[in-house]
């Protein structure tokens, strides 16, 4: 994986609340995530994991509260701090090739040496030979590789991953776990929503369980961490 070219960044969620009409998606969530920490968000469907991640990425405006990215002693947001987001959907265009997709997002983000950066990332995710193929001809696993490469284009200090293993076969999950392990090793802060235990959940150094939009458990110890992730299944 690419050598580190970013400053370690922590995230502070302060009294985050999100309501959709009468529905509380997130209820007064306060969390401090240290720079370089790898956090697993667990919980049943509808517990607020995705909403919390989308709020952190500045894609959803919270009803109340704020998210602050703490970077080199200064505060910022996902708009000002380099952040990578991998969502449940691939967030890439089926009608473009893998290379065209990555070049598009690299140019939008003002990545210097976009062509070289894209080629390097395509090599890292194992798609260099298929770079000129349309994404719609790819398997789910290959699309997810393009999605991960897209999230890494701007050397993000923070990675927000919403069920990144969705649709991947066991081989794909192993590849993803390896890629995330390397990113964790580089000191990137990672927050990922997960369902149950897997090779990917084993990377987490901290587990947070959400229920009906509230944090009901937050642990860093091995046994409790496992129980948090196991409970989330189903």
């Amino acid at each position: 994986m690419t050598p580190r070219a970013f400053s370690p960044t922590g995230i502070r969620f302060e009294k985050i609340e999100k309501r959709y009409g009468g529905l509380h998606a997130v209820r007064r969530v306060t969390l401090d995530i240290a720079a370089g920490e790898c956090v697993a968000l667990a919980g049943r469907n509808g517990s607020g994991k995705t909403t919390l991640l989308r709020i952190a990425a500045s894609l959803v405006r919270p009803t109340a509260g704020s998210v602050t990215f703490l970077h080199d002693g200064a505060a910022g947001s996902a708009k000002t701090i380099r952040t990578g987001f991998v969502a449940h959907a691939t967030m890439v265009y089926d009608e473009l090739t893998a290379e065209e997709n990555l070049l598009l997002f690299a140019r939008l983000q003002g990545v210097e040496g976009a062509t070289a950066r894209v080629e390097k990332l395509l090599g890292e995710v194992g798609l260099l030979e298929r770079r000129r193929s349309l994404v719609r001809t790819f398997s789910r696993g290959m699309r997810q590789r393009v999605a991960i490469a897209r999230a890494l284009l701007n050397e993000p200090a923070v990675l927000l991953l919403d069920e990144p293993a969705t649709g991947l076969d066991p081989q794909g999950v192993s590849w993803l776990a390896g890629a995330l392990r390397a990113m964790k090793g580089q000191g990137r802060t990672m927050v990922m929503s997960l369902h149950g235990e897997s090779e990917i959940s084993a990377l987490a150094s901290r587990g947070i369980r959400l229920e009906a939009g509230s944090v009901v458990a937050d642990t860093q110890s091995g046994a409790n961490l496992k129980s948090i992730l196991t409970f989330a299944e189903g």
Binding site: V60, A87, M91, E95, L96, L108, Q109
Partner: protein, 224 residues
């Protein structure tokens, strides 16, 4: 500056995906062709009737075709949640609108230019001497359709009954554009053609007002 460079990159993407699939251009050309041909067969208009009713019919066909063309503009960004990826990547969300509305104007204008000779032949009107002026009216009219159309496409993409929502929101709002474009076109098809600067000014003002509103409030239309 970043807004303009992002707009150029996104415009390139819009044009590339459209010319690769040709979905929008084909559908719109076929739709306008059907309306123009069917009306011509139904009424078999004389030259004076064509000059009287032709411009209105032509612009109505353009308007309905535009509502078809604008529908997938933001809808297809939802397939893989690419709109979120764009929002994360651009520094100014107005670039997303600007690229889409330029692309929509370009596609609509291209369709209109293709349909103009067909209209002239079927309705027996002379356009050769006023082609340049007609192109100016078509461009300003297309911009007037595309600016609010792109904004409402973003709104309707997130709504229920979205296929119905866009024409319901858009068509009443575009009545002034329809009137101004029809009047300006009719004046050019007259035996003594004249470029009506009052209607052109009205179209330009409409475009500026809606473009400013989109620049000011567009960001909120993209929020979840």
């Amino acid at each position: 500056m970043a807004t303009l460079s992002n707009t150029a990159v996104l415009l390139g993407k819009e044009v590339r995906t459209e010319f690769r699939s040709r979905e929008l251009l084909t559908t719109t050309v076929v739709f306008i062709l059907m309306v123009v041909v069917l009306f011509s067969f139904t009424f078999d208009p004389s030259e004076s009737e064509s000059r009287r009713f032709g411009p209105g019919l032509l612009w109505l066909a353009f308007l309905f075709a535009a509502s078809l063309m604008l529908q997938p503009c933001f809808l297809r960004e939802q397939t893989n949640d690419t709109l979120s990826a764009l929002r994360l990547a651009v520094s100014d969300p107005f670039a997303i609108f600007l690229a889409k509305l330029i692309a929509n104007t370009l596609f609509l204008f291209l369709t209109e230019l293709l349909m103009l000779p067909v209209f002239a032949i079927l309705y027996n009107v002379h356009i050769l001497s006023v082609t340049g002026q007609l192109a100016l009216v078509l461009l300003l009219g297309s911009l007037g359709v595309a600016i609010p159309g792109t904004a409402f496409s973003a709104i309707s993409a997130q709504a229920r009954m979205r296929e119905l929502m866009l024409p319901l929101l858009l068509l009443p709002l575009l009545t002034p554009v329809l009137i101004a474009s029809t009047e300006a076109t009719a004046a050019l098809l007259d035996p003594q053609p004249v470029l009506r600067k009052d209607w052109l000014g009205f179209l330009a003002a409409f475009d500026v007002v809606f473009l400013t509103a989109l620049w000011l409030f567009g960001e909120y239309l993209l929020e979840e």
